[in-house]
Amino acid sequence: MLFNSVDFAIFLPLVFLLYWAGFYRKAESRSAFLWIVSYVFYGWWDWRFLLLIALSSGLDFHIAQRISRTQEEKYRRAWLWLSIGFNIGVLAFFKYANFFIDSFVSAFTLFGADLSPWSLQLILPVGISFYTFQTLSYTIDVYRNKIEVTDHWLPFFAYVSFFPQLVAGPIERAASLLPQFSTAKYFDAALIRSGLHLMLWGFFKKLVVADNCGYWVDVIFAEPATHSSLVLLLGIVLFAFQIYGDFSGYSDIAIGVARLFGFQLRRNFAYPYFSRNVAEFWRRWHISLSSWFRDYLYIPLGGSRGGRSQQIRNVLLIFLISGFWHGANWTFIIWGLIHALLFLPLILRGRNRSYLSIIAKGRLLPNISEGLAMLYTFVLVGLAWVFFRADSLDTAFIYFKYLFAFNHFGWVVGMFFPLLAIAVLLVVEWFSREEEIVFLFLTKRTWLRWGAYWAIGLAILLFSPSEPSVFIYFQF
C-alpha cells in the first residue's frame, strides 16, 4: 500500500480510530493489533512475501533467545553468524542474484558461450533492505549485550513489521523502538499534532516537489544526448530535489504516521542540502542508514582508529557497500566510490566533524564563505547523483559529455513549475532549519500557520499527479 494512495487514505483513519478506541490500552493488544495491520499493509502489495518477513522475524527472535541463554562465546558467535548469514543470504539472493548471474553470463559471452537461459526473473520484495537491517541490529545488539532479549514474540514481530517504516525506513534500532510496544500509551495531542505536521510537509515534498521533478528527470535522463547543457544542468538539480523530496517526504510521513499511534521514530533527514561539506551532508542524509553502517560496520572494522591505510580502507569499504546496498548496478558502486573520494580528504585532515550545528545558526542568512561552501557541496553531491540516476555507466558518461559540451543553452518552459516548487521548499526549509518540523517557526502567528497549512493542502491537491507514483526507495 502506498502512502500516496486512496487505499491508504481509507486505511489510516480506520486503523487510527480502532487503535485509540481500545487496542492501545494493553501491551499485548497493542502489539497484536499493530502486527496484524502492518501485515495487511504489506500484504496489500504481495501477500506471499509476508512469509519472508515472518520467517526472518521468527528466526531472529529465536536466535536472540539462544544467544542470551548461551554463555559460551563460540556458540553465541555461531548463532549470531547464523542470523547474519540467513538475513544477508536472503537479501543477496533477491537483490543481487540477477546482477551476479548477468555479470557471469556477460563474462562467458565474451568467450563465445551463450548462457542467457540461466538468467533468473526475481521480484525484489519491497522493503527487504530495510527490515533486514532492522532485524539484524536486534540480534547483533543482543549478542553485544547492549539490549535485553525480548521474551514476547508479538512485540518483536510488530517491531520488525511496523507499517509506517516497514518499506523504506527510517531503519530503527531495537533499543529505541522495541520497548515502545510495551510502554503504556496515552492520547498525546501534541505528539499527534506534530505527526500531522510532518505528514503534511512530507506529502508536499513527495507529491508537489518530487513527482513534478520526476517527470522531467525521466525525460532528460532517457536521452541526455538530445538536450542542451542548460537542460542537463537543470536535470541534475531536478533529480537532486526529486530524490530528496521523495525519500525525505516518505520518512516524514512515516515518522508522522508513527506519532499518530504514540510512537517516536528516529529522524532520517536534517536539511542535507544546507550542508557545508560532504561529511556534514552524510550526517544529514539518510541518517538511519549512515548510522547503521557506522555502528555495525565502520566501528567494528576499527573506524577512524589505527593507521591511515586502515582509515582509508574503512571509508572506502563503507561507501562502496552503501552504494551496493542501493542496488546491484555499477552506477551505484561508482556513486559510492565518488562519495568515498570526497569524504576521505576530510577525514584524513580531521575536518569531518567541522560542522556539527546547522548553517547560520541564530542568523537569517549565511555569510559568503558558508554560502559558497554550501553551493560547492551541492554541486559535488549533484554531480555524483548523475551516476545514481543513470541506467548505466554509459548513460552517465554521455550525460557528462553533453553537460560539459556547453553546446547550446535552450531550456523547456515546462521545467519552470518544478523549479518553482523547489524554490518554495528551499525557502520554507531554510526558515525551519533549526527545527525538526518545518512549521515551528510560525508557532506564534496562528493565522499565518493555519494559512500555511491550507496553502500546502491546496498545493497538494492542485499539483500532485493523478496516478500515485511509487517512492524511489521502494526499489532498494
Binding site: R193, F417, L458, L462, E467
Partner: protein
C-alpha cells in the same frame, strides 16, 4: 482528543471550501477556453442536447480523437442524405463510450452506432482525463450515477464531486506560465465545427513525424488491453443489441511513419480483428489502407490524426461500409 479531532475537522472543512472557491476562480480566469481541446466536449454535448427529443438520428459516432477529428458528420450527411452526430472525445475508452451511449439514448436513440477502435484507448488507466468532462455534461441522472460508480475509481470520483480543484491542474500550470513567465503558448487544438467534428487544416512534415517518439517508446505488455475496457466494449455491444441499435466498428488511418514505429503493430491489428470477430461486429480497419491514397505529409496534421483534407478522403471511402447491409 476531541479538541484535536475538531481542529482537524475544521481544517478539512475549510480546505474543501477553499478547493471549491479556487476551482471557481480558476474557471473564471481561464479566458482561453476556446483554445482547449476539452472545451469541445461541452460544445458537443450542448449541440447534442439541442437536437429535438426523439429526433431521427441515423448514425452516432463514438471513440477517441480519431473519431471526432476523423469523421465529419456533415460530410457524411451530405453524401448519404442522413442525419449523424459525433460524440467522440479525447482518449475516449470503450468503457466511456458505453456510458456516453447510455446517456445519449435518453435524448435520442440512434439507428446505428459506429465506434472507432484505437488500440491505445484500451490501455488507458486514467478514466478521469477521458471520461471526466463527458460525465460533467451528462443529464440523465441514472446514466450519470451509473457512469460515476462503474467507470471511475475513488480518486476520480472525489475529483468529480468534492475536489473539483484536481480537475483544474492543467489550467493552473498554464496560468502560472502565462502570468509569471508571459508564456501564452497553447497547442493548436483545432476548431469546433458542428455535430461534434473538430477540424484541423495543418499538415505535419515528414521530419516531424520521424522525430516523434510516442509510438516508438510504446511498450505493450502481455495483456496490454485493460479488462475494464474490454468489458466496456462488451457492454456497449450488448446494450446496442438490447436496444436494437446496429453497431459497427472502424479504425481511423494513421501516418505510415507513425504506424511503422509500433513494434507490436501486427499483434495490435490481430487483437482488434479477433476481438470484433468474437463479438460478431462488422469491422473496417483503415489504420494502414493503401487504397485510400493517403500521404503522411499531405493528409495528417500530427503523428496520429487526419487533417481536414484527409478526413474528406477517408469519409468518402467509408460510405460503402456505412451503407452496406449486414
Amino acid at each position: 482528543m476531541k479538541r484535536l479531532v475538531s481542529k482537524l475537522g475544521l481544517y478539512v472543512f475549510i480546505l474543501l471550501g477553499l478547493n471549491f472557491l479556487m476551482a471557481h476562480i480558476l474557471g473564471v480566469l481561464e479566458r482561453d477556453v476556446d483554445r482547449r481541446a476539452y472545451a469541445f466536449d461541452k460544445y458537443r454535448w450542448e449541440e447534442f442536447y439541442q437536437l429535438p427529443e426523439g429526433d431521427q438520428l441515423d448514425i452516432l459516432f463514438l471513440g477517441s480523437s480519431h473519431a471526432y477529428r476523423g469523421i465529419d458528420p456533415s460530410l457524411i450527411d451530405s453524401l448519404l442524405g442522413i442525419h449523424s452526430f459525433n460524440l467522440g472525445s479525447s482518449g475516449q475508452t470503450p468503457l466511456t463510450s458505453y456510458h456516453i451511449l447510455k446517456n445519449a439514448v435518453h435524448h435520442v436513440v440512434p439507428k446505428m452506432v459506429v465506434v472507432d477502435l484505437y488500440f491505445h484507448a484500451f490501455m488507458e488507466e486514467n478514466q478521469l482525463s477521458n471520461g471526466g468532462n463527458n460525465w460533467l455534461e451528462i443529464k440523465s441522472s441514472s446514466a450519470k450515477w451509473s457512469f460515476l460508480f462503474n467507470a471511475f475509481d475513488l480518486y476520480e470520483i472525489a475529483a468529480l464531486t468534492i475536489l473539483p480543484i484536481i480537475r483544474k491542474k492543467n489550467n493552473v500550470r498554464y496560468l502560472l506560465r502565462r502570468y509569471l513567465l508571459g508564456d501564452d503558448h497553447l497547442d493548436d487544438a483545432g476548431s469546433y465545427q458542428q455535430q461534434g467534428y473538430v477540424r484541423q487544416d495543418g499538415r505535419v512534415s515528414l521530419a516531424e513525424l520521424e522525430a516523434e517518439k510516442f509510438y516508438s517508446q510504446l511498450q505493450l505488455k502481455k495483456n496490454w488491453a485493460l479488462q475494464k475496457h474490454l468489458e466496456g466494449l462488451r457492454k456497449l455491444v450488448h446494450f446496442c443489441r438490447e436496444k436494437e441499435i446496429e453497431i459497427r466498428c472502424i479504425s481511423a488511418p494513421m501516418p505510415s511513419i507513425s504506424y511503422q514505429k509500433i513494434s507490436d503493430r501486427q499483434r495490435v491489428q490481430q487483437f482488434l480483428s479477433t476481438l470484433t470477430k468474437g463479438l460478431g461486429l462488422a469491422y473496417r480497419d483503415d489504420t494502414q489502407n493503401p487504397s485510400l491514397g493517403l500521404q503522411d505529409d499531405l493528409h495528417f496534421y500530427d503523428d496520429n490524426h487526419l487533417n481536414h483534407t484527409g478526413v474528406q478522403r477517408w469519409n468518402k471511402a467509408l460510405i460503402p461500409f456505412l451503407t452496406r447491409e449486414q
